[in-house]
Every structure is written in structure tokens, then in C-alpha cells.
């Protein structure tokens, strides 16, 4: 009766599909926000080891930096928490123009389990 529960462009549905195609995948999730942050806690960005991505963790401000880290994690580097904000010394390149701060947790989608 209702719409499908999972949209076609849903990041976690895409992550599952990518893995079934044999691609190496990492999942990034917003875990903390302060001030004005564009995406809510829990928002997902999924990335493969070639840098393909779906979803978002910000309005596009920090995705590039997250993707670079996530490509390593997709291939087996340890999970980590990344922080972005105006207080960050790289803020000029990848900070949030809205003045907020976010933390993003990135972990591998473990193909062995």
C-alpha cells in the first residue's frame, strides 16, 4: 500500500549492491554535530575503493576529505573518526562554510563476515 520502504538511491542499499559486485566498500556516518551542520547525526556516505560514492555527510563541504580516507579504509585500513570544523587548521580547504563542526565515523564494510 505504501511506497517501498527503501529508496533506489539509499546509501546502505547501494553499499550492499556494491559489495555483492565484489567492490571494496567503506561506510561513513555523521556521529556528532555542533552548531549549524548541514546533515543530521546518522547521515551516511558510502564509498568504494575507487572513490565512487553515494549519500552525504555534509552539504558537499567535506565529502572530498572523507572519501580520501574512506578509500583506504575500504581496503582494510582501521576505522577512524574524522573531525571537521572552523577550528580545524585545514578549515580553509575542507571546513564547513556554515560554521558548524561535525565528526564522521568511517569503517570498512567487512567482506569476510
Amino acid at each position: 500500500m505504501a511506497d517501498p520502504a527503501i529508496a533506489a538511491d539509499d546509501p546502505l542499499a547501494i553499499a550492499a549492491r556494491w559489495q555483492s559486485e565484489g567492490r571494496k566498500v567503506a561506510i561513513a556516518t555523521v556521529v556528532d554535530t555542533w552548531g549549524s551542520a548541514p546533515r543530521a547525526v546518522g547521515s551516511h556516505l558510502v564509498i568504494d575503493s575507487d572513490g565512487a560514492f553515494e549519500g552525504s555527510v555534509s552539504g558537499g563541504c567535506v565529502e572530498g576529505a572523507v572519501i580520501a580516507e574512506a578509500m583506504e579504509i575500504a581496503q582494510g585500513a582501521p576505522a577512524k573518526v574524522l573531525e571537521f570544523g572552523v577550528a580545524d587548521e585545514t578549515a580553509w580547504e575542507v571546513g564547513l562554510s556554515c560554521g558548524g563542526t561535525i565528526r564522521v565515523f568511517v569503517e570498512q564494510l567487512d567482506p569476510t563476515a
Binding site: M1, P4, A5, I27, T29, L109, D110, A113
Partner: protein, 226 residues
């Protein structure tokens, strides 16, 4: 995240069931906790399930580190019973707020599709199969006819809908309460009905009534229902 956990999360979402994925932020395997499961984290998770908000749980890991609880709750549905004037305004407003909206009214003249472009309309009596309610569904009865509204409200209370609201004055509601008591519903269950429906903002038109109803539904969705 384990591949099997991702499959479990996606399966739960497809089945419109709420689950949490709990993962240590210092690294290490996460795990799935179903809503209502007997679990050491049941208490903090219950509060998160009620609002649908994901959150860091400080010091909750075995080693004293932080956990992150990602709450997956299905997108909300709104079932409007009574294809009345206020429903014509409420349906598109709720759709704009990302509710999947269904209107149920057995009176075919009311439920005519051209009055409700782009909305799912069911011209049948509201029984359990027609309504297909769950905890992630809000029900608003607007028909003003107890023959139509009462069964829908009773099914909604039994289904644990996160919001149950009924149009009608205090006097109308007092009579409804008498009927529901006679039908065996307890005080707690009847108390979950928002009646008169909607936040009290002095609404004067069908559109303003729709605003007050939708605001009350969103309050229940984001701050936890009764």
C-alpha cells in the same frame, strides 16, 4: 560493519521494523539491537527509538570508550480516515514532510480520486487489513462519523500507532470515551487519543486545522508519542 549486519539492517528497513546498529567508535565490530529486545543497552536505546535520533553513547563500551547508536526507523506513514475538506489540505502537507499518506473513506463520493491528486486513496471500510497499521504510522480520523472513525481508532490503539488523533469537540469525545470504555478499552489506551485533534492554535479554516494536526503529529514523531 559486518556484511551480515548490513543485510540485517536493510532487511529490517524493508520490513518496516526499527533496529539499532551499535558500534564502538574506537574500532571493533558493531552489533544489531532490535527495538524492544532484552539487551544491556535497552534503556538508552528505548529513548532513541522513541524519537528516531541516532546518538553517541558516552562510556557505554565494554572498555569504557564511546559507542555510537545508529537508529534505523522506517519512514513514517499517515493514514487519514475521512476524505473530508481538511484531508484535502492535510494530505499534500504531510507528503511534503515525507509521510507516505493514505486516505481511507468508504463513501465513494468523498473518496473520489480527482479530489486527491497524487495521494493513495482507499474507498473501503477501515478494517485491520485495509489500514495495515504499525508503530511507525500516525492515524487521524476526520470523518466525524463514529461508524467510520471508531473502528479505525480502535485498530490504531491496538496497533500501537505512534500518533492517534480524532476530530471532534470535547463533547463528541466524551461520548466516544463512553463507547470505548463499553468496548473494553482502558483509561491508558483511551488517553492516547489526541482529542480534540491538533495543537490548540485557534485554527479557523480547513488548512489551518491541517497545520495544527500535522504539527501535533510531528511533535509525536520527534519528541515521542503518548
Amino acid at each position: 560493519m559486518k556484511a551480515e549486519d548490513l543485510r540485517a539492517i536493510n532487511a529490517a528497513r524493508a520490513a518496516r521494523e526499527a533496529v539499532a546498529y551499535v558500534v564502538p567508535l574506537a574500532g571493533g565490530p558493531g552489533r544489531i539491537v532490535e527495538r524492544g529486545a532484552d539487551d544491556p543497552l535497552a534503556e538508552p536505546l528505548q529513548a532513541l527509538f522513541a524519537t528516531g535520533k541516532s546518538r553517541r553513547l558516552e562510556g557505554a563500551a565494554q572498555d569504557g570508550g564511546d559507542l555510537f547508536a545508529r537508529i534505523y526507523r522506517p519512514s513514517p506513514r499517515l493514514v487519514i480516515v475521512g476524505a473530508v475538506h481538511a484531508a484535502q489540505v492535510l494530505a499534500p502537507m504531510a507528503a511534503a514532510c515525507e509521510f507516505a499518506v493514505t486516505i481511507v473513506d468508504p463513501r465513494e463520493a468523498f473518496a473520489a480520486a480527482d479530489r486527491f491528486a497524487g495521494v493513495s486513496i482507499v474507498a473501503e471500510w477501515p478494517d485491520a487489513d485495509v489500514l495495515a497499521l504499525d508503530a511507525e504510522t500516525a492515524v487521524a480520523t476526520l470523518s466525524h462519523d463514529p461508524k467510520i472513525d471508531d473502528p479505525a481508532l480502535q485498530i490504531a490503539l491496538n496497533a500501537g500507532c505512534f500518533y492517534v488523533g480524532a476530530l471532534g469537540s470535547r463533547k463528541t469525545h466524551a461520548k466516544r470515551v463512553e463507547r470505548f470504555v463499553a468496548a473494553g478499552f482502558g483509561e491508558e489506551a483511551i488517553g492516547r487519543i489526541h482529542a480534540p485533534i491538533g495543537l490548540n492554535i485557534g485554527s479557523a479554516t480547513p488548512a489551518e486545522i491541517a497545520v495544527s494536526i500535522l504539527a501535533e503529529i510531528i511533535e509525536a514523531l520527534r519528541k515521542g508519542g503518548r
